[in-house]
Symmetry: C2
Subunit: 304 residues, 2 copies
Amino acid sequence: MLRSFSQMEQHILKGEGKKRVALAGAHDLDALSSLVDARRKGIVEAILIGREEKILELLNQLDEDPNGYQIIPQSEDALCARTACQLVRDGQADIPMKGMIQTAAFMRAILDKSNGFVPERGLLSQATLLELPEEERMMIISDCAVNIAPEYPDKVKILQNAVFLAHRLGIGCPKAAVVAPVEVINPVMQSTIDAAMLSKANERGQIQGCIVDGPLGLDNAVSIQAAKHKGISSPVAGVADILLMPDLCAGNIFTKSLTYFAKLPTAGALLGASIPVIMTSRTDSPEDKYHSILTAVILSQASC
Amino acid sequence: MLRSFSQMEQHILKGEGKKRVALAGAHDLDALSSLVDARRKGIVEAILIGREEKILELLNQLDEDPNGYQIIPQSEDALCARTACQLVRDGQADIPMKGMIQTAAFMRAILDKSNGFVPERGLLSQATLLELPEEERMMIISDCAVNIAPEYPDKVKILQNAVFLAHRLGIGCPKAAVVAPVEVINPVMQSTIDAAMLSKANERGQIQGCIVDGPLGLDNAVSIQAAKHKGISSPVAGVADILLMPDLCAGNIFTKSLTYFAKLPTAGALLGASIPVIMTSRTDSPEDKYHSILTAVILSQASC
């Protein structure tokens, strides 16, 4: 089981060989420098798609020899994204990455049916991978960025996507807490209703590969003491590998609080496609951008 | 301006004289010990309402002389709560506090119209008061515990209640960030619509005593760097005194993350009544319980 970003890095370095990242819109210091960093560490090979002159200028600025890179000149956003996805579809690259192009153009290429990256009944979701250094383990929080107000069927898919990531980290049967403001059923709080449904669906074998319990308050989900105080007996309380958020407001604000207040190391992952995808945010720290690249590489490998 | 719980404590000690707390259901080690602690520090006088024998036993266990306390024997939950509120109404106590009685019974007494604690068009709301030791200042987050899915009119009241607390802390014109998952208007995200309305209502003078801006992501609300990265120009970004949460899910999970992940000192306050009210939770740390008592005492004083 991989218990930290540094263990993920080690696992990749002694693993299957380098994955090839196709950066769409590589004429961007921000995205390019994080990919150059990962390449220097021996984690990936890089294919750079975008405005060639600017890319060469930026590589020079980063003190990087352009001969180590395949560069595909392209100036249009939509074509940058399409080229990156085609390279992955054709087996010439493993992971598309978003650089300086519109998110909409990038997502259109990922969702393009002719690429077949997203299964018919699948759902794209975002997950934040959190390292808990004190507990020497990882935690997955979803969805913090993509699905605004998921109803029950989409929550099932978001959970299954998170379970997939947990399995790739070597967590055989992850424990998932369905988080709500309270740990009791309250018919006017949809999050507690959804939590009851998800827990029971898991008990009945409708959701597999994990142990689900909820509703749990965040305190009960992450602290055994807090759960004991409230008299809660749960196989998940205090030891959750996955925190399923009630909606985007909660997930987004929670995950930002981990970065801005708790200052914990995180990564972002886009799940639900048959390929991993790297989308870092301009406001991510360089470390967290690197963590996101590590996470995509782990997702592109066979299970560990 | 009071910039920490320790400054609040100092301010109280050299202030108006001790406030009198009426503990409803004092036969509870948890609530009693936090009140005894505050009394030992010279912050409050205490009136203990509940099962006398048990109260005396607990005081003995805490090594506390019962002669320092007014004890009012009472065994029924509803009557404990009613007595505490009557004492406050009649000027014999300043602050009711919830001990070992049902929350519903306690709230019924607070809301009882004959006491006149909650104005006709007022709204009870909860706020978390957060100390940011690195920035040497306090931040108010609301609502994290009472209002489940407030619509615009209730958000106005929650904001006004938070502004009242800010004023009591000596923040003359608090800056309020209306937090949402994104900082742009998205017509399918109600939180961004409400944020636009609150900001404009503030500009038009419909909400006074504060500067309101939103929607802001949590990152932009608390970090000037993050706001700059996103190109946001706002008088509130990075320096928010108040974070208005989109709903209870987000507020509750966020505030718990501050305790369990960021390990920052917090207090809870019940706002919107004409009197401060102390309601600590069994899972609060002893420090945070003490902070909640400090906050109620500050609320019961003239503005500082």
